[in-house]
Symmetry: C2
Subunit: 411 residues, 2 copies
């Protein structure tokens, strides 16, 4: 037996994070289950961005690099992300995109493991992770990207492997990998591990230092609420910072960028992983987004993620039984992230029919219907109503219209 | 004999670009001569950014990738920059930072010239250009960065040179290089040329196609008015696009990024030089900045740049004669960009004293006082008043205070 809408609303009323929802712009006519693709707009971000535009850029102009802390923004925001991922403040910096940061850290890892030529990943990893690794392999003689099913990775790491590249929570399946175990296996063979935290940071527990992690990257525009295409972050364990060098040795990573000398000398700490001039308006939005986590009880946050995803699974399986949905995401809450995927042969028109009814989830080719649950602002009532609409769409075959089959290039 | 303030004001009154000044937020108490470092805020940008935040991100969320043209923004904005630099619309794209784009194109150029191992540049080129080239040389076996005085470059290009990396208008001296001549010399030896247009685009004539140019990058936050740390642009001649591959092969450069396949396949045209997800808020500001050039008579724009810089040189040399200023920038207007640099042993405190009087120019180590003139919004009266203040500071030795010697890490 599953819960009623009243039960779900009672859960919302008791939710210790309830007040955070009001800090976001939430359209009452929409149930937004795509915060894992683009986080909602924090109300406070609007004024922060307007201030950066009007007062910082418009009025103070070039003086803002010092006066408004633009220069320090990359490590200041990194330090605010650090507690969400179990890192020390000086181990995280905001820069560029996830893709660019993957390139920096793969290049740095390969150079730090001379003689080792293998990047080890899994097939079906998020495409940009594999694409960037392929670009690194094409650029550097002898380097090879090898892929193996995630379950086989720990045993396959050997002395040829320079770096293991894995996504902590899989973008499509929602499966969470054993960060501590894989890191231990890699270290036993002298290899480094680079974790992509794009679908983890801000939604599920991550303990980089507790796992003795080496390297990580992650996305600013999903659970961190940084806005569309927000700058990304990267993590380099303090013990590795001095020996790792970014191949993207731009001026902002220089020890003395404003000395304008001809010779590159990497900054001593995490700043060496900066490259070009930071995009201040985008950084401002990201900083405001990350600040939404200030004062949030992280145990309550992560418990709510598990409760929301669990409720969605239970309700879909109860209310849509017999409609051909096949759960892809692990049933064990300790093994999954904050999104849930069901396989269905008609996933695309079903997703479009849901959007037409105001429930924004997403489709991942070829047959995945995926819904994300952002514990800061998604409610139990949202989950209940979303499944209620899904059940109605399935019961009435409302998805079976030509208009829902027109494929749009959505992200 | 030099002109009077009334003469300068009469020039402003006759200026065909006069109306454009009112489109920017200009503080009446400031004379801003640093648009070559950070362009002023276009008034229209404020509403555009607020719309992107409130309506696109806040209301339409993930749907905006299609509905508001986020996906197409990189090439849409690139096409608007193209006419400013003599390129075809399909040859320019907005992406990442200038530094990251330098890495992409240096890597692509070296791969396209197998067997050639030399990147040829000049000492004193903008630091990030040299730093990135050093990073490329460190990452790729056998590749070497060689530097030679700019005047010696054309004759020194030989069959070992893969790519020549030069800045069209030098950030410190304002000297403009002969793009056509150097490109011709490089092509005669089978080498490519990568031009950095950061101090050129939007301020001085650039004719990439007329020069048969190969590759270029440039900055969005200077004369293009894109806001602090705005995304940069890159140019790849259409004839080269199919054979050049970015080493930063991120998902946005894929031929079918939303097919989520495991294997990288570069997009057919200029989009292959994208890497990660574009930063939409920053792109929005850049697009609004670039649109300030719509309907601007480019001949009038570039003529005004030469007139402003010429007036500044004349007035400083007349009004500050005997105070030790040494012109670094070429006197021939055809050989200079839109900023003027004077060498002076006390350039730092002089620059600080000017800022204290509301005239924002900048200092470039060790001894350069540099002022930029943005033809869209700088007036002849601004130039006159700036030099009047400079003359007063020099005549009264007002710069000679300890407070003006406190060195700040300004950009």
């Amino acid at each position: 037996m599953t819960i009623t809408l009243d039960d779900a609303r009672a859960l919302d009323a008791r939710d210790p994070l309830r007040a955070h929802r009001d800090r976001f712009l939430i359209d009452p006519d929409t149930i937004y289950l795509d915060g894992n693709s683009l986080g909602a707009l924090p109300r406070a971000s609007r004024a922060r961005i307007a201030e950066a535009v009007d007062e910082q850029w418009g009025r103070d102009l070039i003086r803002s690099w010092n006066k408004h802390g633009w220069l320090a923004a990359p490590e200041r925001i990194g330090a605010k992300i650090a507690p969400l991922i179990g890192a020390r403040p000086a181990e995280v910096i905001v820069a560029d995109s996830t893709s660019v940061n993957l390139f920096k850290l793969l290049g740095a890892a390969l150079a730090a493991r001379p003689g080792r030529k293998i990047i080890l990943s899994e097939p079906g990893n998020f495409p940009t992770d594999l694409y960037i690794a392929q670009g690194v392999a094409d650029a550097l003689p002898g380097v090879e990207l090898r892929t193996l099913a995630a379950g086989a990775i720990a045993d396959a790491i050997d002395e040829e492997v320079a770096v293991v590249l894995l996504t902590h929570v899989h973008y499509k399946t929602g499966r969470m990998l054993d960060m501590a175990g894989i890191t231990r296996a890699a270290h036993a063979k002298g290899a480094l591990v680079l974790w992509d935290l794009s679908h983890s940071a801000g939604a599920v527990p991550v303990d980089l230092n507790g796992c003795d992690a080496d390297l990580a990257v992650g996305c600013g525009y999903k659970y961190l609420n940084g806005g569309p295409g927000a700058p990304a972050f990267l993590f380099v364990a303090e013990r590795l910072q001095a020996e790792l060098n970014s191949p993207l040795s731009g001026w902002m990573g220089h020890a003395a960028p404003f000395a304008f000398g001809d010779d590159y000398a990497a900054a001593p700490g995490i700043r060496r992983f900066l490259c070009g001039t930071p995009p201040i308006l985008a950084m401002t939005a990201l900083e405001a987004g990350v600040e939404e986590f200030a004062g949030v009880d992280r145990d309550a946050l992560f418990a709510k993620s598990r409760a929301l995803t669990g409720l969605f699974i239970d309700l879909v399986e109860a209310r849509c039984a017999g409609h051909g949905f096949d759960l892809v995401t692990p049933r064990d809450p300790a093994l999954r992230g904050s999104h849930v995927s069901f396989r269905h042969g008609e996933a695309y028109p079903i997703c479009q029919a849901m959007i037409a009814r105001g429930v924004i989830g997403d489709f991942r080719a070829p047959d995945i219907f995926r819904c994300g649950f952002t514990p800061l602002y998604t409610g139990y009532g949202d989950v209940w109503r979303a499944v209620d609409i899904l059940a109605d769409i399935m019961d009435t075959r409302a998805w079976d219209k030509d208009t829902y089959r027109i494929v749009l290039p959505v992200t």
